[in-house]
Amino acid sequence: MRDFKRSFITFRLVIALAYQDILAKYRGSILGPFWITATTAALTAGLGVLYSKIFGVGLQTYVPFIAAGLVIWGFISATITEGTNAFNDAAGILRQTSLPIPLFLLRVAVRNWIVLLHQVIIIIAVFLYFRVPFSAYSLMSFVGLALVSINLTWIALLVAILSSRFRDVPQVITAVMQFALFMTPVFWSPNKVAGHPLVTLNPFYYMLDAIRAPLLGARLDPKTLTVIVSLAIVGWIVAFLVYASTRRRVVHYL
């Protein structure tokens, strides 16, 4: 527990490290982090036109749907995938200092929030273009985002611990996230397969839904809310126990 508290105390360091990561990745490129924005924007436009034809849905409804879906999915998937290297990348620092281990987890989370901020531009642009009304419900998406972030952090923590112990895990996670992209209603509407276990048992569906539904002007489904809140509680208990039993070992795994 103290480790988590200390990690928050050093939040400035977390932000500095996360910011430095972004700078390092895009140094020397003209668009910088907006490259991700550009990529997602192109994907949104392309998939939006194509799939709205395939599914026979109007651009008016489909493009905002997929824009929100892609941006949110990118955030979920990147946080989990990058979680695999959260500790491995920090091996040098962890071996020599008493800096708390969860700090490097927060670094991944903050890094992806920064990326998300760049991506939000797409959602805003698309919504303005298609005149998607902002309502009181839209604000609920912030609640969704907060809950999803809480969930992502425990998933990333488990993934980070496992990846430092077992070097196969990063590959497994990458494969799983790729698979999950197609199994989760990012491109297609969950209404078409309502009630199917692929949707009802898919935790990613609920995370996606918690942010996307209110964004598109729907009410935050109480079921979604219940699922992600319980997922957050159970997940954090498990992650916390695993962390408590491995924290002394993590530095040796590296």
């Binding site: 390092a24 077992f166 530095v251 040796h252």
Partner: protein, 246 residues
Amino acid sequence: MTFVRVSGLSIRFPVYAVDHRSLKKHVIGAAVGGKVMAASSGPPIVSALRNVSLSLEPGDRLGLIGHNGSGKTTLLRALAGAYAPDEGQLEIRGRIASLLDLSLGVDPSATGLENIRLRAMIAGLTSRQIDERMDEIAEFSGLGPYLAMPLKTYSSGMQARLAFSVITSVEADVVLMDEWISVGDAAFREASHKRLTSMVDAASILVIASHDVNTIRSYCTKVMRLEAGRASSVVDIEQLDDLIAA
């Protein structure tokens, strides 16, 4: 008041060889069961430190001697807080400066100035403290206009100068060092020696591991010998020769 108290400290490393890190091995091992498991049950464990005790008060300068692999670095890392004790207690009061690895946490594509900031934050300075010290650090490094260039364009000597300038700008009560740090060319070496000495003098406790008897003689008041993870008692520097002969 600053102090370092270690009692009955043991640190064991499970060595996760490539073999043991693979998930496949675990799964297959479990599926096959029996013999294979027995042959590779659990990672080999190295006892890096066994039942080490020591107590340091302000003014103490402890030298650690011993062969390679005797546990000197492990002890320093444990004191720095990186390794949690498997047995025993470890209590340190005071700000710790661990000068164990100069190249820690640097970003090769960032400029010298950015790296100073990053490195100083890892060392525990706040942004305000960094702002206050920036000029002094930059000046001491003597890198001038190069500070605005990415670190990857530096020679290894220049990188070491930069790192040295940053980590020695931190005030600390307890200084941990793995060999006396010596960087740069002849002129810088002299200046850096002075700077490091004044940092060490300002600190109340120094723990240094060294293979060089002269280093130990010139900076330490006490000495301890490590041998395969076991520590001798802490003795006065006068008895260094006896300790080496023992």
